[in-house]
């Protein structure tokens, strides 16, 4: 057992990319020659055995045409080893863009691959026991969406990705482990049901307003990067030759929700976080302004999606 372990350790040291223990690496990752491994598949071994039978038959019957055929098939199959290698070689993982997900949900992550030199066909990415088949034409980029399981809130390290190919004939399998140095943030799960926030008009809380994007607005202000494009007042912008944003009527004083960590006494921290997450979400959907007070920081008062993500991130990263 210890022998096996030491062998494995040695292997991991000498060939870090053979096993998964490759150190995490920064993007972009280019699939070079030293990190691609090629071995015959089960079919490849069986086919090789059949080629040997064919060879013996051709030699035994002293039949040179059959021998030539066997050599042709054998050479084509042997060369397919390079085909599997070339399917991966020079491929680049340029960027990774993660969406947002709450703990327990599937997190959608887009991997952006590019093929700088040639077409790569018959590629297969294994993530968490799921396979994604794809191919990339020469000189193009491809965004491959994958779904990751999320367990708990906080930073999630991207799992090791196994990129493999049995192109062209399925006789050889080339693979390479990718461990991009990328973390994605998983938001806390929301409580499914619970009381409304204190000081939000209590039980007579107005129904969440769903017409945030309605036509009624109080004024206009200049567009700033980060503003939602859906709030742009296109007609007014066209008249003024600059992008203008609709300003909604300021929500009345009662609509400012004060979401306080300290107000939730008697609950364990995770439940508190789940409840706060639900409140933040409801406030965001209702178009409310809200302020989030956490033990170490205070966010807001503000409204909108940027504030929402700031709050959720803070909640996700609570110890």
């Amino acid at each position: 057992m210890s022998l096996l372990a030491s062998l494995r350790a040695r292997l991991a040291r000498r060939h870090p990319s053979l096993l998964r223990q490759r150190p995490r690496e920064a993007l972009p990752i280019e699939l070079g020659q030293r990190r691609i491994y090629v071995v015959p598949t089960a079919f490849g071994i069986g086919f090789g055995a059949m080629l040997i039978v064919m060879l013996l038959g051709a030699l035994n019957y002293n039949n040179n045409a059959a021998l030539l055929l066997t050599c042709l098939l054998g050479a084509a199959c042997a060369q397919s080893m390079y085909g599997a290698f070339r399917a991966l070689h020079d491929l680049r993982l340029e960027a990774i863009r993660a969406g947002h997900a709450e703990a327990g949900q599937m997190l959608r992550v887009e991997l952006r691959f590019t093929a700088p030199r040639r077409t790569h066909a018959g590629l297969c990415l294994h993530v968490d026991a799921t396979r994604h088949d794809f191919s990339i034409a020469a000189d193009t980029a491809l965004s491959l969406p994958i779904n990751l399981h999320t367990g708990r809130r906080g930073w999630l390290d991207l799992p090791a990705l196994k990129l493999e190919s049995t192109w062209p004939f399925g006789l050889f399998r080339a693979w390479s482990w990718l461990r991009p140095d990328v973390r994605v943030l998983v938001y806390p799960a929301r409580e499914t049901a619970g009381p409304p926030p204190l000081g939000s008009g209590a039980e007579s809380m107005p129904a969440p307003r769903s017409h945030e994007l309605g036509e009624d607005y109080a004024g206009l202000r200049a567009y700033q990067p980060g503003d939602s494009p859906r709030r742009i007042a296109w007609k007014a912008s066209a008249r003024n030759a600059t992008l203008l944003l609709r300003l909604h009527e300021p929500p009345d004083a009662q609509a400012l929700w004060h979401l306080r960590w300290n107000a939730l006494r008697g609950l364990d921290p995770e439940t508190r976080i789940m409840r706060l997450a639900r409140w933040v979400d409801e406030a965001q959907r209702g178009g409310q302004r809200w302020q989030l007070d956490l033990p170490a920081q205070s966010l807001g008062p503000d409204a909108g999606s940027a504030h929402y993500h700031a709050c959720m991130s803070a909640l996700a990263l609570l110890p």
Binding site: M54, L68, C71, A75, Q79, P168
Partner: protein, 651 residues
């Protein structure tokens, strides 16, 4: 793109279609030797299965088991056994088609493709002509395309087929290397290959109609390359076997002649040196031009100076011989030979014996006059040359000489030798080939089975054995044109048109090359080739080193090719820019270090005359656009247009 959790979906209709195509090709290549009850049902089953698969149907399992059980029974009923070449091929093809009734997973398709490759190879055991081999190799393309179609996101069918063909083409260099270096077996590991195959060509006996079957066989018997010019047609007699013994029906070599000493030969004129490439005959007789001086290596002489190979010619043979066309063979005839040369069976054919005795009394001891009398009889007394003679009765020679008077070379040779022996002149039948076809595209003589011929040799005092061709007396154009032309009567036919003859010449040159370089590449020739490259075939270390070295070189070369960067359109633009830059540099406009391409071109444009400056500025703008304005590769047409305009610029 698909995200599939279940890893074993049913192979799609396209890969099954390609697999069906592979199996259909295999079936077609085997169709010529499969029993008639087998191939049409298999073809029908294949077609039905293909249609059924496209509609997503499964094949009933019970029916499949029934068919799998029936197939070996049928094969045993036909051949009596499951083993051997023919029953094995029938079984393999049948099982291959039946495998298509069970293709529910990728693994099934994989097995079917591997088995199809094996069955394709076995088709070559029935004939290894160039055409056959090319067809079999071509059938590998759909087989590989099937494997490609199983790959995820494989692409269009046309692209798949193209990839398969390209892969095969790319494999050719390694194929040839392996073909040359794979050590040949000196003796087979199992079985006695080729034993069941019918012997072809001239055989060691001449029974009625034996040569007649050959005369309609257009396949090549052997090819002869002469060191000097090809001798005239009338001299092209190739002796294969000398027949001494006649039992009234069949001429054979005779057991008594086996122990005669080699007949002494004295050349009377120039000798011809030539190389014969035999097709496989499965027997040991080797033809040689009348009359060979020495037996080449691995062959030996019979007493009557015909060549015998040490082993049956199973896969073609090349040998070089020198022959004298004017010679004296065995000027002194021993008593034993004389007795053999006068042997006649029992007391058959009384009328022929009476005729010979009449000549004997009329011409006395003048053999030449008797020979002339016989030849004149054949020429003047209404004898016909035909490949389809009427049947002969029990008194074969009498029936032919006095009643039917129609036949071909073997009838004439047989009757002539019979008459000579009855008249007291030692004589024997010689079977071999006569004539042949001089290929105009390359300098060699093609002799077909249809050129098989039989003639006579008579022994004359002081001159030894002398060749006499009685057929020439009946039909001189048999000698000048060939058997079939003589039987049909001369005259240009559509298939003798000049272009067709030229085409056939060229195809035959290819066949000859194929036979010499591939089919005939045996252990001996391999040894010769390896020795020339400094490999000692006797020492296995040397052979292993050569094989390993060649493999290593091939691997390294493959890796270098795999790592190579192909030149895409984007590179084409970059290279064209580099060319332009070199031209400008020669005109004293070098590019500064770190200068951007567009800036460089614009700066140079300022120094040029107005027209060229405008062109260069346009090039500069376009270059930037082509390089950076596209997320997809820049349109090829635009890139080519830029390259063309850059070339046209004359700074």
């Amino acid at each position: 793109m698909s995200a599939a959790r279940v890893p074993a979906p049913r192979p799609d209709a396209r890969s099954f279609g390609l697999l069906s195509l592979t199996v259909a090709a295999t079936l077609a290549l085997h169709a010529t030797h499969l029993p008639l009850w087998l191939s049409p049902p298999l073809a029908l089953l294949l077609a039905l299965r293909w249609l059924g698969y496209r509609r997503g149907r499964r094949f009933p399992a019970l029916l499949r088991y029934a068919l799998v059980l029936t197939l070996p029974l049928g094969v045993i009923a036909t051949y009596g056994t499951l083993f051997g070449r023919l029953p094995g091929a029938a079984l393999a093809v049948g099982l291959l088609v039946l495998k298509l009734t069970e293709t529910e997973t990728r693994r099934d398709v994989h097995i079917a493709v591997a088995f199809a490759a094996f069955t394709l190879m076995s088709a070559l055991l029935f004939g290894q002509s160039l055409l056959q081999t090319l067809l079999v190799c071509a059938a590998l393309a759909p087989a590989l395309a099937t494997l490609l179609a199983l790959q995820p996101s494989a692409g269009a069918t046309r692209a798949i087929l193209k990839t398969a063909v390209l892969r095969l083409a790319a494999a050719l260099p390694v194929t040839l290397l392996a073909f040359v270096l794979v050590p040949r077996l000196a003796s087979p590991l199992w079985g006695a290959p080729g034993m069941q195959q019918a012997r072809t060509g001239i055989s060691a006996s001449m029974s009625p109609g034996a040569i007649g079957q050959l005369l309609v066989d257009d396949s090549p018997a052997f090819r002869v390359g002469f060191d000097g010019p090809i001798p005239p047609r009338a001299q092209r007699y190739f002796r294969a076997v000398v027949l001494w013994h006649f039992d009234g029906r069949t001429w054979t070599s005779g057991s008594a002649a086996r122990h005669l000493p080699l007949e002494p030969l004295q050349a009377l004129g120039p000798t011809q040196r030539y190389t014969i490439s035999m097709e496989a005959t499965r027997q040991t007789l080797l033809p040689a031009l009348d009359m060979p001086l020495q037996a080449p290596a691995a062959t030996r002489f019979t007493a009557a100076r015909t060549l015998l190979a040490d082993r049956p010619v199973d896969h073609g043979l090349r040998y070089t011989v020198s022959s004298a066309t004017a010679y004296r063979l065995q000027p002194r005839l021993g008593a034993h030979e004389r007795a053999l040369g006068l042997q006649l069976p029992g007391d058959d054919d009384p009328r022929a014996r009476a005729l010979a005795l009449r000549w004997r009394t009329r011409y006395g001891d003048n053999p030449v006059a008797i020979i002339d009398a016989a030849l004149h009889r054949f020429h003047d007394d209404g004898y016909r040359y035909t490949l389809t003679p009427p049947p002969l009765g029990r008194q074969q020679v009498d029936d032919f000489l006095f009643d039917t008077r129609a036949g071909f070379c073997e009838h004439y040779a047989s009757a002539f030798v019979f008459l000579m022996r009855a008249a007291g002149i030692p004589a024997r039948v010689v079977a071999g080939y006569q004539g042949g076809y001089a290929n105009r595209a390359a300098d060699y003589l093609l002799v077909r089975q249809a050129d098989a011929h039989a003639w006579a040799e008579v022994w004359l005092r002081g001159r030894g054995w002398v060749r006499v061709d009685p057929t020439a007396a009946v039909r001189p154009d048999r000698i000048s044109l060939g058997a079939i032309a003589a039987a049909q009567g001369a005259g240009a036919r559509w298939y003798q048109a000049a272009w067709l003859v030229g085409l056939r010449d060229r195809i035959d040159v290819l066949n000859r090359l194929w036979d010499q370089s591939v089919v005939g590449f045996n252990a001996l020739r391999q040894r010769g080739l390896l020795t020339r490259f400094g490999v000692d075939p006797q020492r296995w270390q040397s052979v292993a080193l050569a094989l390993g070295g060649a493999l290593a070189v091939a691997l390294a070369f493959g890796l270098a090719l795999a790592l190579r960067e192909p030149a895409g359109e984007r590179d084409a633009l970059g290279r064209a820019f580099d060319r332009l830059q070199r031209r400008l540099t020669r005109r004293d406009h070098p590019r500064q270090p770190g200068e951007a391409p567009a800036h460089y071109l614009t700066r140079v444009a300022a120094d040029l005359p107005a027209e060229q400056a405008a062109a260069l500025r346009a090039l500069s703008t376009q270059f930037v656009r082509l390089r950076y304005a596209f997320t997809q590769p820049a349109p090829r047409l635009a890139v080519r247009d830029w390259i063309r305009r850059a070339q046209e610029l004359k700074p």
